[in-house]
Every structure is written in structure tokens, then in C-alpha cells.
Amino acid sequence: MRTAAELNYGEIGIISEIDSSHPSSKRIIEHGFTPGQTIELINKSIFNDPIAVSVRGTLIAIRKCEAGCIKLK
């Protein structure tokens, strides 16, 4: 299954679930990453990590290891 960490530039994905075993899962959900939401990879930093993702009309910068628990359909 793909995760938000594997998105390419400009690629759009739909969240299927958030891995709740991840310590940051609560924070990720509170920022609006919930199942059914469309997300898009907007930018990456020069080191490829963190990535900037748009969700619910807002840009969120998130480390790849944390984006890894956002599973996509």
C-alpha cells in the first residue's frame, strides 16, 4: 500500500487510513489528515524531506517518516 511519503511532485492521493500505532498519528489527524481527504504533494525540501502536502486547503510540512503513516487508496 502506498503512503503519503511516496507521492511524487503534484501527485494527488486520497487517504484511506492513518496508522494509529505511530506516535504522531494523533497530531497528524488533528491537522486534518483523515480518511477520504484528498492530499497533494506540493513541494519537497532540497534534502527530499520534509515534504509539503496540501490537505483541506492548507499546506502542511511533514517529515517523511511521519507522512509514512498516512496510507493512501
Partner: protein, 678 residues
């Protein structure tokens, strides 16, 4: 009777997610005369104020730190949430004003929904509706109010439109306060919290379908813009009605560009860094001169005696050493405030996060770290923006290793001593090398300290970087300036007394017991006479005793008690080292030639017990190394104590950095000697 009235003044607490316009609303309601309150035993800060009298509401207003949800994760978040329920000094809030960005309802409604179900007396304030209008949409206050079952009011932070409505609602709520039962506020259910938050988000999505409305649905418009709008609407509604700000996306195509984004970031930070250097310098010199003049004014006009010196060299110079940092602090906070307000700072943190995460830091550690090259004091205060406590403490820990501007005069003197007169270009290279070396060592030290972090920083937090990149906007100068002003004021009144206290202790050590030396001063100018007296006094002072006491540990690194005394006096401020060295080596001229005279007397100085030359290439290089590592700045210790909320970290900093300085100096001096460099 009066106290009775005081007790009954209602408490209105402002709460909201970051970037929701909370602080703007606080500024509108409070004016600029707010004060800061620390939550007891923590570094979490609050602003409180009475509501401006012209609004005719007699209530206390409390601005709480931005939170995303009622379920705390870090210790600081827990403090923020706990004090929302009941502030230790101000009690339970009678009314909660919660700000919500109307363009971000989809995310920001989480907190109000949690607050309402916890039983708070909530008023939802919708902000940034003007930006929403530009996207052709509006929010129906009445529908949202019905859905949430609480008061909803739109307030424009710039034009203040809607403020009267808000005041009216607050007033009517205050009139009906007896209907509101504070005891009904219950702790928010944090049991299966992920499920609950997901549930709330689904409810929010349902609410949003009802409350967003197109702006002017039957407006007559020309075809071109109609097509444009149609396209926008189509795009937005295809995406549940949410898409990021177009202009922000366009700007980010450049500022977050994979390659150029990083180049621009380095340029912006370089500019910020140099501005605290060069913009602040003339002001710092001004402050310094002012207090030096004040000092000599006192010395010239009063009878010499311990009291005169207490006033001139103790109190006046001590106050000067507090105030000399104010220009740097002010300029740093001003520039950072503008960058933060425009939305850029969050992006900078994102760009630099990866390399810093390798040594246990966070993208947000970067700004405090480069500020440390100007002065550790504003740098440590700037570390407040790091939400993760462990990463904040580690950042504060390594800041003293950044080569601050107070070390420059010391480096300048020692480098001038090292290099031959005809090769002054070499000085620049050595200075550059010192800075490079200090960057490298701080990385290594951060890496090592990070290995022991569990023992040093007891905070248990998993490292995380999830940061909202706010929509770009023009910074609001007035609120940035008022925030800058308050930060500077805080520094003066909180750190100032500690710094002054330490300076007075040092003054005592360097002045007593031989306060009025009897010396032959015929034919000397007043300045010369003062310097001779000072040098006599210092030679027989407690500080000199201390210097002689530590001479056994100074000798292995090729130094004697006189350098020891200067190092001790340098604790008041590093730049004091040079003037103190001049005193211990009895350089008593008071003109511009003093550096050359000092250099000459350094060249001739010998260690008294052994007769060896004191300032060899090896010992001078060793001294430079010592200054790179040693934490010899009481102001830094004081601020570190204040910002970390305890003595543990500042004491560890002094012990670790000073012993590291000693060991590295020992290696440098003896290593150079081993290779035949004297």
C-alpha cells in the same frame, strides 16, 4: 467592597489554533498595554490585559498559547490545556473566545467542537473572511451558529468590521453569566482519542456542506471573469471546496523550489544574521559610550571611595552590560517577527529540518542558532518557537557554542598578536577559520549531547515535525513592533536583575579588599591615574587571589594568574577580557594607542615562577580555542536559567563547556609545543 468587585470581574480567555488570528484579536481588544504571566514552574507564557475601556466591558482578557486540540501531547501543551480549564492565578474562564480562520474551517473547527462538548461558554470568532471573499465564498454565521449550538461572529482583523457585534455578544453573555455553570465543564474525553477526533472531523465535513455559501450568487458579471470564477468554483468544489491559496502556491513555486528555495533561504538568513550585526552595532556603541561617560562622570565628580566605585563600576557598568544587548535583541525580534508574520519562517524551518534532525535538533532550531552568532541572549529567547521541549532544550544547550559578537574583540586582539604586521590579510582567514571551527564543534557537541539526552533532558517526547505553512501575507508592522517591544522589555526586567546581581558580585571580587591604593601619581593625567589605581586594586583583589589560587591549573595550558584574573573578570562579559588584560599587565595609557601598547607588553610578559615567555604562539592559539568553547558569560547563564526553568541546564553548560575549553586548550598548547611551535 472594592475587592468584592475585583473578584467578580469575568475572565475571558482567548484560545485558538496557530495562524487563526488569535493574537490580532487580542491586540484589538487589549490595546498594547498587556503584561506577561508565567504559568508557575514552566516557561509557558500568557498575556493578560483588561479589555480596552472604550469598549465598556469590564473583564480580564487572557491570551493562551495556540493549540490545535484539547488533547495535550507535550508537557507544554498539557500546561496550556490545563490552564484553559483553570488558570492557577486567574481561575476558570467565564467566556472562551475561540478564533477560527474561515478559509480553514475544515481544520480549525476541531478545537471549538471539543471546547463546546467539554461544556465551556464558547463564542466562535470567524476571521479572515475577506480572504475567503476573494475566493468567491462566504460563511453563514447563523447556520454555523445553529450547527455548533453556540454564538458565532465574523470579525475582520484589519478593518475591525464586526467588532461591535462581538462586543454586544460578550456583553449579553456577561449579563447572563449566572445561567452558566462552571462546574459543568468536564475534562475532555481523551480515551480513544483518535477515533473521537476522526468522528468530529466527519461531523465538520457535514457542517461545511451547509455553511459555505457562494458570494453574490446572482451578481451580474462580465463573461471573462465569469469564466474565471466558474473555473475556480469548479476546481474548489471538485475538491470538497478546499484548495490552497493560489498566490501562496505561486510564491512557493519559487521560495520552496528544490534548489532555488534553499539558495533563497540561505540568502534571507544571511541577511537576517548580518542585520543583527551591522544594524545593531552603532546602537550598541552608543549605549556603551553612554554608560562609559556616565561612569566617568560619577568618578570625576565624587570623592573616590568604595561607594563611588559601587555606583560607577558596579551599578552603572552593570546596568550598561544589561542594556548593551537591547539593540540586538530588538532588531533580531523585529526581523524574525516580520519573517514569521509574512509566513516565511515556517518554510525556512521546513527547508533546514533534515540536516538538523540528524543531530537531534529541529528545523525551528536554525534561527535561534544563527542568532547565537550575534548574541546568545536573544538566541536563547528565540528558541521558544520550538514546540518540542527536548529539542528546545538541546538547542538552548548548544547556543553558547556559537561564536557571539562579544568574542570578536578578544579574537581581534589575539589574532593581531599572532600574525606578523605585514600579513594582516592572514587575520581575516584565521577569523573565518575560527567561525568555521565553531560551527563544526557545535555540530559535534550537539551530536554527543543528543546521545546523552535522556539523562540531561528528562522530557520524554518523540521527535516530530508537522508544521502548517501559513498563507503568505503582508506582515502587520504594528503588532510585530508591539511584540518586539514586549520581548525586549521582558529581557530587561526578567534577565536584567540577575545579570546586574552577578555583575555586582564580580565588581566586589575585583575591587575588594584593596579599595584605595596609595600610589605616587604625580604628573599623570586623570585617565592615567585612574588606570594605575585600577590596576593596583585588581592586583590585590579577591579576584587576583582567586587567579593565583587557580594558577596551578593555568600553568599546564601555558598561562599564569594574570590571564586567570582576566578570564574571571570576563565572566561579566567576554569583551571585558581585553580591558582586564590591559589592567593586569599595567597598560596605563588611555589613548588610542592602547592596543599597540598592550600588544607590546604582552610580547614582553613572562610567567613569574618559571621566567618563560607568557604569550607564545602556542598559548595565544590556546587562548583563542579557550574562548571558542568556554561559557564565560553570566548573562547567558541567567537567561538559560530563566528559559529552561531550572538551574540544571545552565550549570551543566558552564561545567561542560568550561572543562571542554580547558581540555581543548591543553591539547592545542601542548600539541603545538610537541610539534615545535612555541
Amino acid at each position: 467592597m472594592k475587592t468584592n468587585v475585583d473578584v467578580q470581574i469575568p475572565l475571558i480567555t482567548l484560545v485558538g489554533p496557530p495562524n487563526s488570528g488569535k493574537t490580532t484579536l487580542f491586540n484589538i481588544l487589549s490595546g498594547k498595554n498587556y503584561k506577561t504571566v508565567n504559568y508557575p514552574g514552566s516557561t509557558v507564557e500568557y498575556y493578560t490585559s483588561r479589555i480596552l475601556s472604550r469598549y465598556n466591558i469590564n473583564a480580564e482578557l487572557l491570551d493562551s498559547p495556540g493549540i490545535v486540540s484539547l488533547i495535550p501531547e507535550s508537557p507544554d501543551e498539557k500546561v496550556a490545556v490545563d490552564s484553559l480549564y483553570s488558570h492557577p492565578k486567574l481561575g476558570v474562564p467565564d467566556i472562551l473566545l475561540t478564533t477560527v480562520d474561515s478559509c480553514q474551517l475544515s481544520r480549525h473547527l476541531l478545537l471549538p467542537k471539543q471546547l463546546i462538548s467539554a461544556g465551556f461558554n464558547v463564542i466562535v470568532v470567524l476571521t479572515m473572511t475577506d480572504i475567503l471573499a476573494k475566493r468567491g465564498k462566504k460563511v453563514s454565521e447563523s447556520k454555523l451558529s445553529k450547527e455548533l449550538n453556540c454564538d458565532v461572529v465574523i470579525v475582520n482583523g484589519r478593518s475591525k468590521k464586526g467588532l461591535e457585534n462581538l462586543l454586544e455578544i460578550i456583553n449579553s453573555k456577561i449579563d447572563r453569566l449566572n445561567e452558566f455553570d462552571k462546574n459543568k465543564i468536564t475534562a475532555y474525553n481523551s480515551g480513544e482519542n483518535n477515533k473521537t477526533s476522526l468522528g468530529i472531523f466527519y461531523e465538520i465535513e457535514e457542517i461545511l456542506k451547509k455553511v459555505y455559501e457562494p458570494l453574490n450568487p446572482d451578481k451580474k458579471i462580465d463573461l471573462v471573469s465569469a469564466n474565471k470564477e466558474l473555473k475556480v468554483l469548479k476546481e474548489e468544489f471538485s475538491n470538497d471546496g478546499f484548495s490552497p491559496d493560489e498566490l501562496t502556491l505561486k510564491i512557493d513555486r519559487i521560495l520552496l523550489h528544490r534548489f532555488w528555495g534553499f539558495v533563497i533561504f540561505l540568502l534571507v538568513m544571511g541577511l537576517t544574521f548580518t542585520s543583527i550585526f551591522w544594524l545593531a552595532r552603532p546602537l550598541m556603541i552608543l549605549v556603551d559610550e553612554l554608560f562609559t561617560d556616565l561612569n566617568s562622570l560619577v568618578v570625576q565628580n565624587f570623592k573616590p571611595g568604595w561607594f563611588t566605585y559601587l555606583v560607577s563600576d558596579g551599578i552603572i557598568s552593570g546596568t550598561g552590560s544589561v542594556l548593551v544587548f537591547v539593540p540586538q535583541i530588538f532588531i533580531l525580534f523585529l526581523v524574525l517577527g516580520l519573517l514569521e508574520d509574512s509566513g516565511y519562517l515556517a518554510r525556512g524551518a521546513m527547508l533546514i529540518d533534515k540536516p538538523l534532525s540528524k543531530i537531534g535538533l529541529n528545523g525551528r532550531s536554525f534561527v535561534p542558532m544563527i542568532s547565537g552568532y550575534a548574541c546568545a541572549i536573544p538566541a536563547i529567547i528565540a528558541a521558544r518557537t520550538i514546540p518540542n521541549r527536548k529539542e528546545r532544550l538541546l538547542t538552548i544547550f548548544i547556543i553558547p557554542l556559537m561564536s557571539c559578537s562579544a568574542r570578536l574583540p578578544v579574537y581581534a586582539l589575539l589574532i593581531a598578536y599572532l600574525i606578523p604586521k605585514d600579513k594582516s590579510w592572514l587575520g581575516g582567514i584565521i577569523l573565518g577559520g575560527i567561525y568555521l571551527f565553531s560551527i563544526l564543534t557545535s555540530v559535534v557537541v550537539a551530536f554527543v549531547i543528543n546521545k546523552f539526552r535522556k539523562k540531561i533532558f528528562t522530557a520524554e517526547e518523540s521527535s516530530s515535525f508537522i508544521l502548517e505553512l501559513p498563507t503568505y501575507k503582508l506582515p502587520k508592522l504594528s503588532s510585530v513592533i508591539s511584540h518586539t517591544y514586549n520581548s525586549s522589555k521582558q529581557y530587561i526586567f526578567r534577565a536584567g536583575p540577575i545579570i546586574l546581581g552577578f555583575s555586582l558580585v564580580l565588581w566586589f571580587l575585583t575591587y575588594f579588599p584593596h579599595i584605595s591604593p596609595q600610589i605616587e601619581t604625580n604628573g599623570m593625567s586623570l585617565g592615567q591615574k585612574q588606570n594605575v589605581e585600577r590596576s593596583e586594586r585588581l592586583e590585590k583583589s579577591y579576584a587576583a587571589d582567586l587567579g593565583k589560587f587557580i594558577e596551578p591549573i593555568m600553568l599546564p595550558i601555558g598561562m599564569d594568574w594574570r590571564i586567570g584574573v582576566s578570564l574571571i573578570s570576563a565572566f561579566a562579559a567576554r569583551e571585558v577580557f581585553v580591558s582586564s588584560l590591559a589592567l593586569t599587565f599595567k597598560v596605563t595609557t588611555d589613548d588610542d594607542q592602547s592596543q599597540n601598547t598592550l600588544l607590546n607588553s604582552l610580547r614582553e610578559a613572562k610567567i613569574q615562577s618559571t621566567g618563560e615567555k607568557l604569550f607564545t604562539t602556542a598559548t595565544t592559539a590556546g587562548l583563542i580555542v579557550f574562548f571558542i568553547f568556554a561559557l564565560q558569560c553570566l548573562s547567558t547563564v541567567a537567561v538559560s536559567r530563566k528559559e529552561t526553568g531550572g538551574w540544571k541546564i545552565p550549570i551543566l553548560q558552564v561545567l561542560i563547556f568550561t572543562s571542554l575549553a580547558y581540555i581543548m586548550t591543553f591539547i592545542t598548547v601542548n600539541g603545538l609545543r610537541f610539534f615545535g611551535v612555541q
